[in-house]
Symmetry: C3
Subunit: 223 residues, 3 copies
Amino acid sequence: MLQELFSPSVQHWLDLIGIFVFAISGALMAVRKNWDVFGIAALAEVTALGGGVFRDLVIGAVPPAAFTDLGYFVTPLIAAALVFFLHPEVERTQTAVNVFDAAGLGLFCVTGTTKAYDYGLGLTASAALGLATAVGGGVVRDIIANEVPSLVRWDRDLYAVPAMVGAGIVVLCIHLDALDGFTSGLAVLTAFVLRLLAMRYHWRAPRAWNRRSAGVEVTEETP
Amino acid sequence: MLQELFSPSVQHWLDLIGIFVFAISGALMAVRKNWDVFGIAALAEVTALGGGVFRDLVIGAVPPAAFTDLGYFVTPLIAAALVFFLHPEVERTQTAVNVFDAAGLGLFCVTGTTKAYDYGLGLTASAALGLATAVGGGVVRDIIANEVPSLVRWDRDLYAVPAMVGAGIVVLCIHLDALDGFTSGLAVLTAFVLRLLAMRYHWRAPRAWNRRSAGVEVTEETP
Amino acid sequence: MLQELFSPSVQHWLDLIGIFVFAISGALMAVRKNWDVFGIAALAEVTALGGGVFRDLVIGAVPPAAFTDLGYFVTPLIAAALVFFLHPEVERTQTAVNVFDAAGLGLFCVTGTTKAYDYGLGLTASAALGLATAVGGGVVRDIIANEVPSLVRWDRDLYAVPAMVGAGIVVLCIHLDALDGFTSGLAVLTAFVLRLLAMRYHWRAPRAWNRRSAGVEVTEETP
């Protein structure tokens, strides 16, 4: 039932848009790292599909959607080809990419949470898996690229919180039996807008208390 | 049957203790890396639950216990909160943390092996998966933190061997049809004590033969 | 049916050879990194079995073959022991190792593709998963060793393309209903020879267009 909140074709197109923008971010990272064309394609695929594949393995929905729907597989390749030929132009539109990435984040945390709940997970676990779906691809992208995941860096704008809020709204609506196309859309929109605000006003998350006084290594700080 | 070696509630509490101490080690690593509060929580979760999730995916026990038991999910968050507010105090108790980590190691290698055998794996595969359950979370922690896994570093005290011995005792007992609460407890205790001894006397594993004479890079050596 | 292209025992021996040579490459990497004997064994196991475990999890063939067939588990340990005692000699035979690795690549892309198709995946998804089976172990090896995956580096000889061609021939033969022992062997051989040629003539993949003119970081370049 929950899967039918949006009409199948609308849902599918929203999914493909989310996959596309995540793939763009993966492909751009590969270009900045000076990788070859297969590295660009591979990182685009992994970034776009990693979160969803992990979710599907956890809930037992095998083979994962990424391997049964040809559109999910081909979309990252299109994104990779675009970045391969036009990366200076794509990088110039970094703001647009960030906006689309925020849209993907909002969308994936909501669809990830509803799919997990559909497969019988509890409310908290569904929200946690929805969050993992939304941020998982980016974490795998950064690990493969040998970077500290941008998700955990204190000097990056909030990324997890918007997805948490979106997933939280979904499970709250499920709990209140109020999840429908409208409230789902509201959850997507809330996560999307929160992420845009976090980027606009550089909202950061706190580090551990007494961080400065403690004699800890700070080698991960970047200028 | 094997799952009932300990009474369910005792087993559950032992699991939660193991999860808690592994989560502490993940959260402390995140603080040392200067990550923000979400990085601390995420690394605590992954370190505590990573080994068990991998085991459950391999044996087909989906969704993994980490996603069906709320206590498994919440415990690492409590550990993360504790480290967030009190990390200087927690670090000062590093010895205590190490002792608890050794207890978690002993416990997880035994429960991982018995669960794998319960799901139909052979004796050798069960022991291997029990070992992977015990050390898996720590390896994922180090990979995400962009460190060489402490498991494989020659300049760290033995970590894999105690877990191997614990898992080995379990499969030996299964083979002899002698696995019960007593022998299981003995396996946990043996792994636990071996790890404590390895830390106390700095037992190290050998590197490859002729290591010195071979003209190999030694960049991973740390002072 | 597809699984019976080769007689079971021939197939099994080919699998073990592929696992052995991949394990050698993992163990050698661990020796170069100066890891201890457990690091050598662990990296041999992960490199040899990682791609196949991922494939089996995705298609729902749990527990993965690596955990049900004792030979799959023991073979990497033999390779690790060999490298542990004889690594200078093994490194001196790097060319031979590379030839075997090419054989493993060709074999795994073909068996991975056919197994995925047997489990109901579509042609494109089967080829993609066959490719992942062939290159997956090497990527995990490089991630654990904290290296940029050699798969994506522009300054390394082509590795993905031969596996793609091999997987492509298999799905083409399936589509034409012409897959048998002969055409499968041809696919293995084509991938094998292409990889040998790539190493012999240092075929490289292109990087993104305008790479030089764009002001991007090139820190990943190695001499």
